[in-house]
Amino acid sequence: MRIKLLGWTELVALLLLSSGFVVPVFTRSVLAYSVLNQAFVGVIAAESVWIMLRMNLLSFATPAFMAIGGYTVAIAGQHNITDAFLMTAAAFLVPALVAVPLGALVLRLRGTYFVLVTFVLSQIMQLLIFETPGLTGGSNGISGVAAVTLFGAELGTNRLVLEYACGLAMVATLITGVLTRYFHQHFAGIEENEILAESLGLAVWRYKALGFVVAAGVAGLAGYSLVNMLLTAHPSSFDSSTAVDFIAYTIVGGRVSILGPVLGTGALVFATNLFGTHGQYAQGLYGVLILVVVLAARGGIAGSMAALWRRVS
């Protein structure tokens, strides 16, 4: 069995994401920067959802792990630790470590029960943030988070923040891509029929646990990117209802390949911004798109494009 570490879908995804380095060459528009920034955060979060979906598990816990990653960075910033490499590692590792014991507990559950437990997890995280004002600032959050530094230089300008978010999204895509490529057949086996996979000798719990832990780490990177963009860690940024947005990005984009979360996030974040100051109406669009994708176009954007390509060629 030959295992490829990255396929063409991952490379296309990375190429699309690298737009974050290209766009600032052409424009200084604050709106463009803001939309791209939101998209980069969304892509990372959607990739976290997507990793679990590869095993047919729908996770609402993304905001919880984002909060752990985001608050880790904000608290470190209060202690003047701002090094980019160190912070990226911490934002990935701390949520991943928290996910180890949690995964041992919740991965005993399948299907519906898993969905419910992840929903409960993100509610608990919200309440925990409010109940620990000493650590997390409670309902005020932690504001004035120090800008990240790379080799001692502060990444403080809008353009550098954008490029840094872009870099984080590419790192997350690399991690997600390598994980899902390397364990492609294992994940596919679990997705197809978990009981059959287990009876054929696959240590299902091992791969589910690995997926859960990496998905938590990737979500942590999304939280980091969000906090770095806002320079604030606030409970409302990690509200449990945002999980629905990331799920919408992933489902609408398509779950067949990593291009799904990337394209889905790009399309929906762009569409949300078309609503301008009436962003709250975007959720209705998400709802309609979810209905359409589930009923009529199961592959989402990426799947439909692939089907179209096959028909043309």
Partner: protein
Amino acid sequence: MDQFVQAALIGISLGAQYALLALGFTLIFGILGVVNFSHGGFYMLGGYVAYSCVAFLGLPYPLAVLVAVAATAALGWVFELFLLERLVDDHLATLMLTLGLYLVISTGLLTVFGPLSMEFAFPVTGALHMGPIYVPRENLIVLAVCLTAIAALWLVLYRTDLGRGLRALADDRAVAMAQGLRPKLLFPLAFAIATGLAGLTGALVTPILSLSPGVGDPVLATSFLTVILGGLGSLEGAALAAFVVGIVEAFSSVYFGGSIGALVLFVLVLLLLVFRPTGLMGRTVRGA
């Protein structure tokens, strides 16, 4: 002591409301195997329909409540029949469909009624004073209606052929179908009953609490909590758990304040879900 009795009364009143929501939620899961993410949406819709009937059509409140029940049940019936039915055996797909519907309902209400809360007051005000204990009349009425609805649901499910059919489908769909029961007829009906109950709760409770787009989110969370606690799909469990949740919530808010009570409940539910996924009543109702 007075405070204790007061908290207990609030708890029972909350419990009855939660029971109505949780029964609908668990009915849908037990019979169809669908986790209904749009349950909070039907609650909101019930509230807004009742509000519109009173404010724009000038209907008396009790009639408005009935219209709300009919409207939410009808929407539930149509949604099940035309959309959900096609993918009813796919857990993930039905979950996504109900989530999509919830987003559409809440955005629809936001578009029509705007983001502010409505001025929707319960027609009966005042309170009963029993010595030092003070009970708002509106809570008593809501409690009475909720208990009546729960009793009616029990009668339908356990004393009629329709109820026997529904419970048979929940127990074992293949055998029930072999006996001649038709899911295509009964599923939309079960879904309509459940969404009608959510609509009824919304129409009853939103005048007392508040009515704005977004009130559906906590409703969904509470329904989840209650239903998990009671055991997914178990009707008796849901009713029992609803009163547990209501009473814990009432006592913790009276004695501790803040969100400690909710946190304790959530952690309790998390542990229960992990170590005893069948819930308080301990019966496996449906593999999931």
